[in-house]
């Protein structure tokens, strides 16, 4: 995770907010560093993380995660991380018979109907395990990213319904934090809007107020 970003958002792994939906938007640039930041942030905060990764492979996130100090393989093995690797499991829809609908079942349907199987996968992954003490602080859902769903033919209303159900059931019932990524115009925030410029280096990101970069001054 990037410490400077934590300072800007006024949060640390041990006192992060629950029950919130965060939307990460990028337009004409690549905001994927934010996805890696939040993934490592919540793993370090000892949260149960469900990561629906449609954009990149597991090894990509693992390599970047290691630079940021988390090991996704270890997290997955000990049950902290539930990882849906979209690029790999999309093939299973076609070549493996399943009893239950596959999370990416919409790929098989003529009019990509709804994302109910994907929602059920998320709900199953994040429901609290009965018996035994709670090992993890609180559940987090991370989706990278929603634009892939739109590109694959899922209607915008179906994506909105999926978000709605994740908010309603998972965010409200289980009090977890959802992070999404979608490309579009960033929505204007009326209450608190802060604008910063950033520069990505090898293992960190530095933020500065507009026009204050040493390269500019």
């Amino acid at each position: 995770m990037f410490v400077e970003l934590n300072n800007l958002l006024n949060t640390t792994p041990d006192r992060a907010e629950q029950g919130k939906l965060t939307l990460l938007c990028d337009a004409k640039t690549d905001g994927s560093f934010l996805v890696h930041h939040f993934l490592s942030f919540y793993l370090k905060a000892n949260c149960k993380v469900c990561f629906v990764a449609l954009f990149q492979s597991f090894s990509h996130y693992n390599i970047v995660g290691q630079k940021l100090g988390v090991n996704l393989t270890v997290a997955r093995e000990r049950g902290q991380l539930v990882f849906l690797e979209g690029l790999k499991s999309a093939v299973d829809v076609f070549f493996q018979t399943q009893e239950e609908p596959h999370p990416l079942q919409f790929l098989r349907e003529a009019n990509a109907g709804n994302l109910k199987p994907l929602f059920e996968f998320v709900r199953e992954a994040l429901k609290p395990v009965d018996g035994g003490e709670a090992r993890w602080t609180y559940p987090v859902l991370l989706v990278d990213d929603l634009s892939v769903l739109l590109s694959l033919g899922v209607g915008a209303v179906a994506v909105l319904d999926f978000i709605h159900y994740c908010r309603a059931t998972v965010c409200w019932e289980l009090k977890l934090r959802i992070l999404w990524r979608r490309p579009s115009q960033p929505t204007a925030q009326r209450d608190q809007s802060l604008t910063y410029q950033y520069k990505i280096q090898d293992k960190s990101v530095s933020f500065f107020a507009k026009g204050m970069s040493p390269a500019v001054l």
Partner: protein, 300 residues
């Protein structure tokens, strides 16, 4: 006028946007209806019941009847809790009531309904609901029905928005400037010309409506009138001013590249001093003095 929106009855369309959200105004109007003793029904599709009721005190909350379409609107959980008939079924059930008092129905939101239902079905249902009190042949007197619909106009094309707009008796479009919210109210009364006005307002934390005059006149930061502007030419170590004689000499000066008639005459008439200039030239040993004209062979 903003506080008497519901007195006309019929459909009141609250058009908001991402920049100027309308749920606070919806809640303020709901609170007003509840305080007037009307029955208030909320069809909640976009936010949870807890979130909608937040900010209302308990006596308001006791008067609100909340129909929850947030938790499982599409019946994905396959439990028996889902309300039969969906939101439109609930809407029709509210209108079939036997209680003759006035009713306010808040739709949170019309956008959600428009995304999930065909536009024609929704418009027919809204027409039936909002014109119920003028329906002839009904023996039991039915009270006034007001429907408050929150519409996020950026989500829809002009067709559906236009259709809903034509159904509405009152249309409130939210906007504002410089942090001050405004409502542009278009009111259509039967057999009268439509009236429109703009009302500046703010919503207090307890969801009371505070009507205001408008943004403050001093919108630009103006300088303090008590401090005179500082003259930068005082206290200098050099002189920036010209005396009268210096000014006259400057004004009478002819610029070197300004072509006047005197200059023209001077150029045409050779000056007497020019014949006295000489060029002294000492050739070196290596100089090649060729008296021929190098351009001789050019045939011009």
């Amino acid at each position: 006028m903003l506080d008497s929106l519901l007195s006309l009855g019929g459909l009141v369309l609250l058009r908001d946007s991402v920049e100027w959200e309308g749920r606070s105004l919806l809640k303020a109007l709901v609170k007003k209806s509840a305080l007037c003793g009307e029955q208030v029904h909320i069809l909640g599709c976009e936010v949870s019941e807890e979130e909608f009721r937040e900010g209302f005190d308990s006596d308001i909350n006791n008067r609100l009847v909340y129909h929850d379409f947030f938790r499982d609107p599409l019946n994905w959980s396959k439990t028996e809790e889902a309300l039969p008939g969906g939101p439109l079924g609930a809407l029709r059930a509210i209108c079939k009531r036997t209680d003759p008092g006035p009713v306010t129905i808040a739709l949170d939101s019309l956008s959600w309904l428009l995304l999930h239902l065909p536009c024609t079905t929704l418009c027919q249902a809204l027409h039936a609901v909002s014109h119920q009190d003028s329906c002839p042949g009904d023996s039991s007197p039915v009270g006034k029905v007001s429907v408050l619909g929150l519409l996020h106009e950026e989500l829809h094309g002009p067709g559906p928005v236009g259709a809903l707009s034509s159904l509405a008796q009152t249309e409130v479009t939210l906007g504002g400037t410089k942090g001050q919210a405004s409502a542009h109210i278009l009111c259509r009364r039967p057999r009268q010309r439509p009236t429109d006005q703009t009302q500046w307002f703010s919503i207090l934390p307890d969801f009371s409506l505070d009507l205001q005059e408008g943004p403050s006149v001093e919108s630009q930061p103006c300088s303090d009138p008590h401090i005179p502007p500082v003259d930068p030419t005082t206290h200098l170590t050099f002189n920036l001013h010209l005396s009268k004689k210096e000014r006259e000499a400057r004004d009478s000066l002819i610029l070197p590249f300004q072509f006047s008639s005197e200059k023209q005459q001077a150029l045409l008439r050779p000056r007497p001093g020019q014949a006295t200039s000489h060029i002294f030239y000492e050739p070196d040993a290596y100089d090649d003095l060729d008296q021929e004209d190098p351009d001789d062979d050019l045939d011009i």
